[in-house]
Amino acid sequence: MKALFSFVCCVFSLFLINSAIAENTVIATTSADKVSLSVEQVEKRLQIEQGELYNQHGDFIQRKYFKVLKKPFLSSGNFEISNNRFIWKTSKPVESAIIFKSGELYFKDNSGSKKAPAQASTIAQLLQHLIAGNFTALTDSFAFYDDNNTANCVTLKPKTSSMTAFIEQIILCGDNQVDEFVLFDKNMNRTEISISYNKEL
């Protein structure tokens, strides 16, 4: 379970934190004023067709906002995604990787490579499905809502207790591809992940 939250990324220079300045622009919304969406409506809204986003690779930037921190915590890296493989590799501030292939999850950091417990695969699979735009796979765990703030965004609310333990809601935005998503936890701290794609694998 420890590994569940360990998208390990270590700091060799804390100056990066100070340099990672971002505006606190995304606001979590309540579901009362939202309209429920079907998978087809979500795909239409984001102009994503199921399955077309597999076999991608690209870069990401992650900004972590805590209420007690004045500035967000920044990390970056790259990823690879295909039907049966997902690699999330953090290169800054320190190198680490999470590898999910053939149903098994491994972590790699400066202490070596180790098999991760299955709970961690919940988050790894969530990331994989979010980036791949595989909303059908997410229907068991999430309900989709219209996001009133932006036309190209949808809100995902967890349905299962295993998911609500970690995530309050996710706002996912994109146009033909998933460009950014924001995960809010129960304390309304948030993690913003921006994605840029390279050419297909």
Partner: protein
């Protein structure tokens, strides 16, 4: 007068039988675990019940294959409304757990956190790593109150230890499944009532029907089931079948034999009444003396038919003598009963409680048989019985003739047989194998399912330790010493894994020894003080300064009171902790109070630990650390019981010899003892040749051979080789052969072993008994 007495006792017995049936005093069970020997140490035994008894009510269903998820959901939807389906999920409230631990910030250190305190850089690396994680509810819930992240890491590590199953979209998923194989598990709890014999069979059938429906819909999925419920259902169905089949078969064979020999309906009625009276007496005694009767006891109890009918044969054969005299017969029966009862009382010395039930059933049953043959049988048979069977007479004369010829060559024959037995034991020393599996007649599928689920849920090379202490602090400190020894092993594994990784240039997942126990959630007070000192030292060495500068957070540690067992006991994490600690109240006054008279036992689980490593990890604690391996413990207890039974057998033999010496003289005593020893030796050797390594139940059979053999010897000694006695003994032997012979068809290894040895012993003693008897004529 006799007839009236017989009828009165029959009426009383019937009344009592109706009473125990109506009042529900007769309860049955088939829980195989209840047959197991109990640990001698009371506190350990109680702790064992505390740790593991709840598991008896669990049912495990696993789903694998390409449609694992769908078959899981299908099972769930089909079972949802069934009365036996009851899933209790423990709500995981991480937030509340973190809030509970926050007041003890400064006293709690996780291993990783502790290591990171060696330098400012290392700590910054650790803390930054925590913040880069995409979602971490522990950090999120505690960073405002504890910016050092020590509480977050401590709680996260404690939860991380319990990771054999993960919740994925509301489904329990195994973390140890084979590569690429998804495996989902449903665990539900059944009522205690569902473990009763008949209910267990019904519930198990219903669950299997649901599984069958799921498998029909998703043929690619593999569905496996396990749990005590299925063992109970299989063993009780099996035992019920064996009881009715074996009982019925041997009864039928005996009735045919009786009719063939006596050619009389009154003889049949006498035999039937004797058996019925015996069974009713035995059943009433069981129902009144025991809370619940184990079905295996009744399977062994089938042997009552074979012994009780002997008494009837002796009376019947005597009654068709021209001048019947029942006085000698009755004396023989009484002496025979006393010796048989003594033999069965010895069974109660074995550690398995069900043997007391077997002994009670047989002894009470024999009382019933005896009452019947002393009262009813002579009354209904005396005037009408006439044996006119010339063929039988001829065969009987032939048999007596052989016996006489054998008796004439007694010395030579006994020497030859003794020499053969001696040589066979020299050439083929008997080996023993005491295994818990002997008690279990469950199917191979169920046993393999159970092994599979055990591996899935507990992992490989799992070892369990009981940590004993007079205070909770002592228990926790012992756990921490063991933990540090395992940590040292982890470092070795880690180093060797890195070396291999370097040589092969491949990332090799590490299999690191792991410890889980209550000290994950509650460090000892000594450890909490050390933690506090370590944190203060780190703070005074500016370990947190870089982190504080970078984040603007202020790391401070309060000097709080240490976390206690009392606080944990009433907290949100109690469900994770209390199942692993047992508080034994020695003085009987306190209720869960930690006072000086209490005894504490905790359960510490180690995984990925070899046996050799376990020895080095647990050495030096004396009796405070007990390796708990139920199967091994039982095997050990069974071995000890088997060995002690051999001594008891010797004692019983000596006692019997003394009685015979006193009653019939030294020569008779010597001859009888030799016959007994030879019979038992032959039975054991032949059993070994047929069955392979022997077990406790073959040795238990020795006790019964002794009890039956004494009967034969006493009857020969009292009544000699007259035709009615030889006929009665021959009929007894044949009936016993029917009864014990059918047991060799039992699927329960214990019943098979018992039946085989007794059967071989009866044949041996039937041949040897007349050889060893000093005839009345000789006297």
């Amino acid at each position: 007068m006799k007839r009236q007495l017989g009828l009165i006792q029959g009426l009383v017995a019937m009344f009592l039988l109706v009473f125990v049936l109506i009042t529900g005093k007769a309860k049955f069970q088939a829980d195989i675990l209840s047959l197991l020997p109990q640990n001698v140490q009371t506190v350990v035994q109680d702790a064992e019940s505390h740790f593991f008894d709840g598991n008896k009510k669990h049912v495990f269903i696993s789903f694998s294959g390409t449609n694992a998820k769908l078959s899981h959901d299908q099972f769930l939807s089909l079972s949802q409304n069934k009365p036996w389906f009851n899933v209790k999920t423990l709500e995981l409230d991480l937030e509340k757990a973190v809030q509970f631990y926050l007041p003890y910030q400064g006293r709690l250190l996780a291993d990783n956190f502790s290591k990171s305190l060696s330098s400012s850089e290392r700590y910054s690396l650790f803390a930054s790593q925590k913040l880069t994680e995409i979602v971490n509810p522990f950090v999120s819930a505690s960073i405002a109150q504890d910016p050092s992240l020590s509480t977050a890491e401590f709680v996260e590590q404690a939860f991380a230890k319990n990771d054999s199953l993960a919740l994925e979209d509301g489904r329990l998923k195994s973390t140890s499944s084979e590569k690429g194989q998804q495996q989902f598990i449903i665990i539900f709890t059944i009522d205690n009532e569902a473990l009763n014999v008949n209910k267990a069979i019904t519930v198990a059938q219903e669950i299997k029907q649901v599984i069958h429906q799921v498998e029909t819909q998703y043929p690619d999925s593999g569905v496996k089931y396990s749990g005590v419920l299925f063992h109970t259902a299989e063993n009780s169905s099996q035992a019920k079948f064996e009881m009715s089949f074996f009982g019925g078969l041997s009864l039928l064979a005996m009735l045919v034999m009786v009719y063939f020999v006596f050619r009389s309906k009154t003889a049949l009625l006498s035999v039937t009444l004797t058996i019925a009276n015996a069974v009713i007496y035995g059943f009433i005694a069981l129902a009144l003396l025991f809370d619940s009767v184990h079905i295996i006891s009744l399977v062994f109890g089938v042997t009552l038919i074979g012994i009780s009918i002997d008494y009837c044969f002796h009376v019947l054969t005597e009654l068709h003598n021209k001048k019947p005299s029942l006085t000698t017969v009755n004396k023989s029966i009484l002496l025979g009963f006393i010796s048989t009862a003594l033999g069965y009382i010895l069974l109660t010395l074995a550690p398995m409680s069900f043997l007391s039930q077997v002994a009670t059933f047989i002894i009470a049953g024999l009382v019933g048989a005896m009452v019947c043959v002393f009262t009813l049988v002579p009354a209904i048979s005396s005037s009408k019985l006439g044996l006119n069977n010339s063929k039988l007479d001829k065969q009987l004369r032939y048999l007596i003739n052989i016996i006489h010829q054998f008796q004439a060559r007694r010395v030579v024959l006994l020497v030859v047989v003794s020499a053969l037995v001696f040589v066979s034991y020299l050439l083929l020393p008997i080996k023993f194998n005491d295994s818990i599996a002997d008690l279990n007649g469950s199917s191979a599928t169920l046993i393999s399912n159970e092994a599979f689920h055990q591996k899935t849920l507990s992992g490989k090379d799992v070892k369990r330790l009981f940590i004993l202490g007079s205070t909770i602090e002592q228990v926790l400190q012992t756990e921490e010493v063991i933990r540090s020894r395992v940590l040292a092993l982890s470092s070795e594994t880690d180093a060797s894994s890195k070396l291999v990784s370097k040589v092969t240039a491949q990332a090799i997942p590490q299999v690191i020894p792991k410890v889980t126990g209550i000290s994950d959630w509650l460090p000892s007070k000594q450890r909490q003080n050390d933690n506090n000192k370590q944190l203060m030292f780190a703070q005074s060495n500016d370990v947190f300064s870089s982190w504080q500068e970078a984040t603007g957070l202020e790391v401070t540690f309060k000097t709080s009171a240490p976390l206690t067992y009392q606080a944990i006991k009433n907290s949100v994490v109690a469900p994770y902790v209390l199942p692993f600690i047992y508080v034994g109240l020695n003085n009987g006054t306190g209720v869960d109070k930690e006072n000086n008279n209490d005894e504490f036992v905790s359960l510490l689980q180690l995984s990925n630990i070899s046996r050799a490593q376990l020895v080095s990890i647990t050495e030096g604690f004396g009796g405070r650390v007990i390796t708990f391996d139920k199967a091994e413990n039982i095997s050990q207890i069974m071995t000890e019981s088997r060995e002690s039974l051999l001594y008891w057998f010797m004692l019983a033999l000596i006692m019997f010899s003394l009685v015979i010496w006193f009653r019939f003289g030294l020569k008779a005593a010597g001859n009888h003892s030799l016959a007994l020893v030879l019979s038992v030796s032959i039975a054991l050797m032949l059993s070994y040749m047929i069955q392979g390594p022997l077990n406790l139940f073959n040795v238990l059979a020795m006790m019964l051979i002794l009890a039956l053999a004494i009967d034969y010897l006493i009857f020969y000694q009292y009544r000699g080789t007259n035709s009615s006695n030889v006929l009665a003994i021959s009929l007894s032997a044949l009936s016993s052969l029917f009864v014990f012979g059918v047991l060799i068809f039992s699927k329960t290894p214990a019943v098979y072993s018992f039946g085989l040895t007794v059967m071989l012993g009866i044949v041996s003693i039937f041949i040897l008994a007349p050889l060893s008897v000093v005839n009345k004529e000789e006297q």
